[in-house]
Symmetry: C2
Subunit: 814 residues, 2 copies
């Protein structure tokens, strides 16, 4: 099913009518507004849409509009016979899917806009949380359209409360309430209290006289009198100046919203300093304006909608968030459960300082994470705000532990990091220094790189086979490229560890370290790796055997690093503290709770961020073994770990993270990803010594990966978990990964540039553009890394949604 | 008014009964539960409290319980005669303040717990948002007690919606809903839908048979029959096993909550690695367990409540958040407007990646901040996650600008920072290196300090007078200590700039820089200062004349820094880019929108965090001039500013920040701080060349500061804005500020240690303990910095609340 666009048109002022409760007078209010619009000096064409109606009750509503607002164009989409709540009526009928209802509403409004209708109302059924046909509440069902809201308040006893609660339920879902209307009741005076309440929040409230009371239905004369009275009521109310003023206001708000969207790129270009962006040559046109987001999609402003003579052109276009918003998204944008969870924590705590205190979310999350990691080494959790700060903490931990054990004075000598080429651990200066230097680093005033970074073999599929590609200059040491039938067989370390390749890896790693330490006198303080995929370096898929071997050599040969080293240990840290940077790869990004589990390794320190909060807000955890923790234990307070941020372990972040982790673990437990797993398992050879639950899988289909691997323009690709990464051949026909190009200022900065660097392939950029502007009413927002284009799903992405995107890829590449 | 404690007792299981709407049957449900509890095998004593009741309607409720649950102890606190909503009834009567109502409820429940009552219900009036006597809604009014909730759902048409919305309104305010009850309606079947809904969220729902219908009131016989029918209804329902099961469940939840609180310190001690904390010697007892927070108060677990033979001992104690949660709090803990704002942003966007895109909150906040700063230099806003990362960005900006202008190659030469001693800019390694080294830094493996840090004169009050204290070793250069009658006169820079002191400052600063550059060959890349107060360094109140002069010398003498420097300029950066770290001092922390305004200076780069989000969650802005921005402009993408975090400009943070900024600016505009200002203005001499709106003020009373300045144990103190800082004499009788002690590892780490270092005074610690455990049912959670103890208010703190805390200080010190 194609995604639906946000419902916004320049010429058509459309609103959704929500009720604070059932029977608060939505239809009367709608009739007043439609009548008012018909009488408006601008002689508007008016539409009234009731997407889902149930039985005689709603039929009456329908007739009501027909009778009392005869000029209004009316439409219904789905009709249930029984006069009950749609979710009950629906039990006995073919149920339209929520997506179909949304598409129906969007299509209708588009046609109306095209037909010159200027004012439209879309009426909901019942109150804001009354269930729709599939059981989702009105507010959840219609959220992807995010129509601005006309809220009909409740004038009865108790109506203050239900009106405010309904308003809050709408707010939590990111709706903009443009006005509140309700009837005047001189006894309860809800409208007075609510007027103050809503005006304080910038929302005008209009109170209407009570409509004439309904007579008993049996009496025909009375009915006629009722009709007359009602007609007189509408006649008098609809032309009142405050109704006309309100309609002007609604129309102005619609125009202002569109104007604001159309001005935002220019204004942003004026005041925003973007991360990792060269602003020279950048124009306002290069900035995508995001109105809102839902599930996997942004609602993006279409600049061409401004001038379009075609009034039906919607202002917003659904755009697949192909970078998962810099790899953060897990549970979808605008997830109401996460919003509520965040709000609960804010309401219960706000923020509570976190030194010498504890609160439930910080504690529960720490305990849950330790349990979830199934790494017997991890005993302590340190909180910070993002992956970069969390890695700074990890580095401080690692250096202290090794300096303490080996008796080095870190303030006198340079203690270095052992890592991989193309690594990236964040943008603060301390961890920037833990990634390798480059030919361009003289441009950067603050870089003081310290370390040694191994080059390594990489995995990708091409021509239908999986390959381990060894860098040219390492072939002598590490052996030739290897070919495997399945990804599972590459991860069969139990078998591969006895291979020739493994022997060569071991010997190469060991002799390199020996040389660095013995000949160059280097002192290493920690081994740092992004397990499996080095993301920012260009989606480098490391041969797991190499990462495994590097860790094992480090741990089995502690004397490599210092003569003072105790004998190797398999339970305590040995050789060097091993730090896994799972900021990107952890917490189900690759389909598993930890990336370490692919390697069967237990790091001494692990850092998580990005998916930790399901994609909502910044939080980071650095987990460490009790042994590392003990390295800071001393009678001197000044020996403590010198790190902390004001919002350390902020309650909102911890609460949302706990909820996200639990949700993702529940999804794993209840087999939510079974369809994806089945797709990959069936494609795999049955053998490969892999337990079915350990099989590698991706939410991108195996068929897509195989088919694209034969495409002329594709040099190689892979998919694992939610990540799909495609390396394109560059125009010169010279394939080769990003690694074969000269390094830019810092390799990792490629992550952030939405373009290649001139000397890299422009093929990825070309594909990026084709995916952004398709022949369809939706597109893909993606990021490229040199000649690599990648797409990333959420863990909640639905197969049908991803297959839609895969279709675009196939069209572009096959 | 003394603050009220959270309502929690070990022996008493107390709940608050909220209604999804008016007339949903709260009283019937309460009667069922009270009856059930009376019949419970444990033969409970039961209490029913209706704090505020209105007229005959509620009298009927009262009689209802009396009649149908005769063993239940009943109590009302406030009674209004008219049968209308309390907020209307209250218009014609003396209105109890919300605080009085809360205290009344707490006192009653305490007494009941003391009397051995095991089960109590506190009934609200109307729905969750029905207004209380002062216009605040039920849910807002009772929030400080945070009683767990029994929610009575609505079984009528529309009741699904109103029940869920009511539930959401409670969640947003941090309430725990323990159960939902509602009547069975076989037609609408709300209970079925809602049971699924709530059980998914771990909340049991119990449906009750409908009570017998009420007969018309006029008929005495019918009334009697009604009574009988009702009695039979209660008889049959109350003894049902599911009611008894529910009561057991409620009781278990109460016990579990207390048990959890009592176990949390131990568990935290086991798994949490605290920031800036030496864990050796730390025990679980040193950890405060925070149940929740509201306004300026934590609700802290009282460990002694566990063993108390006194059943009335509450488990929670209100504790003033004296460090404003590490200086972050602005709009109070648990602020429902901020919760809603956060939820709205989460619902509308989740998180949206921020490179080449823009969304409304990020743009609006950027524009608002630029406007609010009234600094014509600032043109661009760069977002990051916390003060430390924002300062890293500022440093990268400053170094680039100066290297570009002066033709330095930052990768070859050390470019240094000019700053002040005792400065602190965050804990990431890059900005740690921008603060001065210390005698202990050999312990830190990663420190590579680069810069020169000026010592400077400090401000404090002692013996009723304001002093400028010049460091002993600088007296020769800077002149003697000075005395001023008012703080305003110290800030009268217009006058002071012509003083002898100013001349000496100028000449000292200029010659020092000359020596550093000419003789030592140092190259400086930026001037970095925390204007007015250097917080983490020990609440050092810098003489504004010194900071002003340092900036002016830097800007007026650019040739000091490089022969290539162009002539001085007053509009573009000159000499060095001037970076103000307003992370702590900005955004009304000192009573003004910017700390720079006290100095009348316009920095080239300004960093804000902490109060930016009103105290809710991490966000940071680094604002810079267009000129600094242009230093990164180049045809090379690799010349761009290399910085960015995944959650850069996250929508929740930006939306909350925009709301906070607007709220605080509105408070300023509408004179919310007038009482504080009046207190300080009246104490000031009327002259002092200060415009009234420029007068210095504090939310801590001038009288307190003056009185304490005579206290024997006080060496000096000051208050400005929301900050009160007291330097205590140490035990040896040797006064002197923190500055006179040897520097610890890094001076700034003192901020984080909740104790002195052995060689510093223990007086502050002693005072800290006295404030924590007072003779009152509430205490103060404070932080000390060596021999300095400080207290910090929110911008929303009420005078009567702060005077209460001042009373504790007076008791302890006078």
């Amino acid at each position: 099913m194609a995604p639906v666009g946000g419902a916004l048109w320049r010429q058509l002022c459309a609103h959704q009518v929500y009720g604070a409760n059932t029977n608060v007078g939505k239809t009367v209010v709608s009739t007043v507004l439609c009548n008012g619009a018909l009488r408006h000096p601008s002689a508007r064409k008016v539409g009234f849409l009731k997407p889902v109606s149930t039985g005689p009750l709603d039929e009456a509503d329908y007739r009501h509009i027909e009778r009392f607002s005869p000029g209004t164009l009316q439409k219904g989409l789905y009709q249930f016979d029984e006069p009950v709540s749609p979710h009950i009526a629906a039990q006995s009928k073919t149920i339209p899917k929520d997506d179909e209802i949304l598409t129906g509403v969007h299509t209708t409004l588009t046609k109306w806009a095209d037909d010159g209708i200027k004012f439209a109302l879309v009426e909901t059924a019942g109150g804001v949380h009354s269930p729709g046909p599939n059981g989702n509440s009105q507010a959840d069902l219609y959220r992807p359209l995010r129509l601005p809201v006309v809220l009909v308040g409740d004038s009865r006893l108790g109506g203050i409360s239900s009106s405010i609660s309904a308003f809050e339920s709408l707010l939590i879902r990111g709706y903009d309430v443009h006005t509140v209307l309700l009837f005047e009741d001189d006894y309860y005076k809800n409208h007075e209290y609510l007027r103050t309440y809503f005006e304080k929040r910038g929302i005008p409230l209009l109170s209407l006289p009570q409509p004439p009371e309904k007579p008993p239905v049996e009496d025909a004369d009375a009915l006629a009198r009722d009709e007359e009275a009602l007609a007189a009521y509408y006649e008098s109310v609809s032309k009142k100046s405050d109704i006309q003023g309100l309609l002007d206001d609604l129309s102005t708000k619609n125009t202002q919203r569109v104007d604001r969207l159309s001005s935002m790129a220019e204004r942003a270009h004026n005041v925003i300093w973007y991360p990792f962006t060269q602003h020279q040559g950048m124009t306002a046109k290069d900035i995508s304006v995001i109105d809102s987001a839902y599930d996997d999609y942004f609602q993006t402003y279409k600049p061409d909608s401004a001038q379009a003579s075609n009034a039906g052109a919607g202002v917003l276009k659904p755009t697949f968030d192909g970078s998962a918003s810099w790899w953060t998204q897990g549970l979808g944008h605008g997830n109401p459960e996460l919003s509520l969870t965040a709000a609960y924590a804010a309401g219960r705590y706000g923020h509570v300082m976190f030194a010498g205190t504890v609160h439930e979310p910080a504690l529960s999350l720490a305990e849950s994470l330790i349990k979830a990691h199934e790494n017997p080494r991890l005993g302590k959790v340190f909180y910070s705000d993002n992956g970069s700060t969390g890695m700074e903490v990890a580095v401080k931990m690692g250096l202290r532990a090794s300096c303490a054990r080996y008796g080095w004075d870190g303030s006198e000598e340079q203690i270095s990091i052992l890592g991989l080429k193309g690594s990236y651990h964040g943008d603060t200066i301390g961890v920037m220094d833990c990634s390798e230097p480059s030919t361009y680093n003289k441009k950067v005033e603050w870089y003081r790189g310290r370390g040694y970074w191994f080059d390594f073999p990489q995995i990708k599929m091409s021509q239908g086979m999986w390959h381990v590609e060894v860098p040219e200059e390492l072939k002598e040491a590490l052996g030739p490229n290897l070919e495997f039938p399945t990804l599972d067989s590459i991860f069969n370390l139990e078998e591969r560890v006895n291979s020739d390749a493994a022997k060569r890896y071991r010997s190469y790693i060991q002799s390199t370290i020996e040389d660095l330490v013995a000949k160059e006198g280097k002192k290493f303080g920690a081994l740092i790796m992004e397990p499996i995929i080095l993301g920012a370096g260009g989606m480098l898929f490391a041969d797991p055997l190499f990462q495994y071997t590097l860790t094992q050599v480090t741990r089995s040969n502690p004397q490599l690093f210092s003569p003072k080293a105790p004998s190797p240990s398999t339970t305590s840290w040995s050789g060097l503290p091993v730090i896994f940077d799972e900021v990107f790869t952890g917490l189900y990004r690759l389909g598993r709770r930890t990336a370490a589990s692919f390697l069967g390794l237990h790091p001494d320190i692990t850092v998580n961020a990005k998916l930790l909060t399901g994609g909502l807000l910044p939080l980071c955890t650095t987990m460490a073994s009790n042994e590392i923790f003990d390295a800071f234990s001393s009678p001197e307070k000044s020996d403590a770990l010198l790190h902390g941020h004001s919002y350390t372990a902020h309650a909102i972040g911890c609460t949302v993270a706990q909820k996200s982790l639990q949700t993702m673990m529940d999804m794993e437990q209840t087999g939510q990803w079974n369809p994806y797993q089945a797709d990959w398992t069936s494609a795999s050879s049955p053998a490969a010594h892999t337990k079915p639950e350990d099989a590698i899988w991706s939410s991108w289909s195996h068929g897509l990966v195989r088919d694209l691997s034969f495409a002329h323009s594709v040099e190689g690709l892979f998919a694992i978990g939610t990540v799909l990464s495609i390396t394109l051949r560059d125009e010169s026909g010279k394939g080769g990964s990003l690694r074969s190009f000269p390094l830019p200022t810092r390799r990792n900065y490629l992550r952030h540039f939405n373009s290649s660097l001139g000397y890299t392939s422009t093929a990825a950029q070309g594909l990026q553009k084709r995916l952004a502007v398709t022949g369809k009413p939706y597109g893909v927002h993606s990021r490229v890394l040199g000649n690599v284009i990648y797409l990333m799903a959420s863990v909640t992405s639905k197969p049908e949604s991803l297959r839609e995107i895969e279709g675009l890829l196939r069209e572009a590449l096959l």
